[in-house]
Subunit: 171 residues, 2 copies
DNA sequence: CTGCTCCGTTCTTTCAGGGAACTGACCGGG
DNA sequence: CCCGGTCAGTTCCCTGAAAGAACGGAGCAG
């Protein structure tokens, strides 16, 4: 957990960070996604302190991103699984992988490859507009105030990025 | 900065987190992206401690994600801009926004809207395969060891996720 | 020369992460 | 029946990083 609470900000980035923003959480989700799902496995694989791992797992469970599933009665044993909410969060990781591969992989090449089951090829993700299906990167959009911004209407003067600091309400 | 260094791990997620993984960095990038680019603006907008803001900006600059541009001589004044590397990192934020909008926005609706310049519509991003352009989410892929994995070849037995813990080399 | 803005340092306090030992329920073997 | 081993945590102390607030200094306006 970070010192400052992000969950109250009127910003979807901040609210996402509030769930999975501190450094270990994305790696925990990655491990659970690839099948490392038990406490000791996670601890050994990540090298995380058991204390912090416990805290993170509880937090992710409380956030509805992971669920704790008892796979053995009587020596009560648990494994963690991604919920639908958590599986969608993995998409964020996939884009992070893409960026890391491009900018930090070095000469060794990417450490992991993704095979797209639909077409059978080793591939990577690309961002497109949900409507026109054309590429939609950071340079292809304008930002506007939405209903949850705390502003009554979009009053930003026209420009490259109409609304600058309306992305999050004042305290 | 986190206690444990992620930059050395053979995992693109960890290496991305090493650059922008601690909680404030994504929000700094968001602000710079929407035009909040000066020190005092950032500090006031985020409510971050000035000390930490200084550290983060240096780190992001050293990582090649931001550049410091002097917009005024003689009362030397600077603003921060996204590099190409940083602009691509914003794509990760866009996917985080998508997730936050879907799962944490509540009844107020999303705080910000993105208008796709190519088609003119308010939209959101979707992940597709770079090859076949079909949807490519967490459930649509298999993971395999890549050249940078530290493994000589992909020896994982076939299954839903062929390579489980080969995603990152052993210590 | 007084106050103001901008962009940071420096200082102290506090709190979360790291590391390692400990618990406790269960199981298998000799 | 006791020993060792596995799994899933819990408890403890120590240190280092974040928060908060004060300070600095360069320039400029009045």
């Amino acid at each position: 957990m970070q010192r400052t609470r992000f969950g109250d900000m009127a910003c979807s980035i901040a609210r996402t960070l509030d769930v999975a923003g501190e450094p270990w959480s994305p790696l925990i989700l990655r491990d659970v996604f690839v099948g490392i799902s038990r406490f000791d496995q996670l601890q050994a694989d990540l090298g995380i302190s058991r204390k912090v791992l416990t805290e993170r797992l509880r937090w992710l469970e409380d956030s509805g991103v992971l669920e704790r599933h008892r796979y053995s009665e009587r020596p009560a044993r648990y494994e963690y699984r991604l919920t639908a909410k958590g599986t969608e969060l993995v998409e964020v990781l996939m884009v992070m992988v893409r960026w890391g591969d491009r900018w930090t992989a070095g000469e060794a090449g990417p450490p992991v490859l993704y095979r797209h089951r639909a077409c059978g090829r080793v591939s990577h993700v690309e961002l497109v507009c949900a409507h026109c299906r054309e590429p939609m990167g950071a340079d292809d959009i304008d930002v506007e105030a939405g209903p949850g911004s705390g502003l009554s209407s979009a009053a930003g003067r026209p420009g490259r990025r109409p609304v600058a600091d309306a992305a999050h309400a004042p305290p």
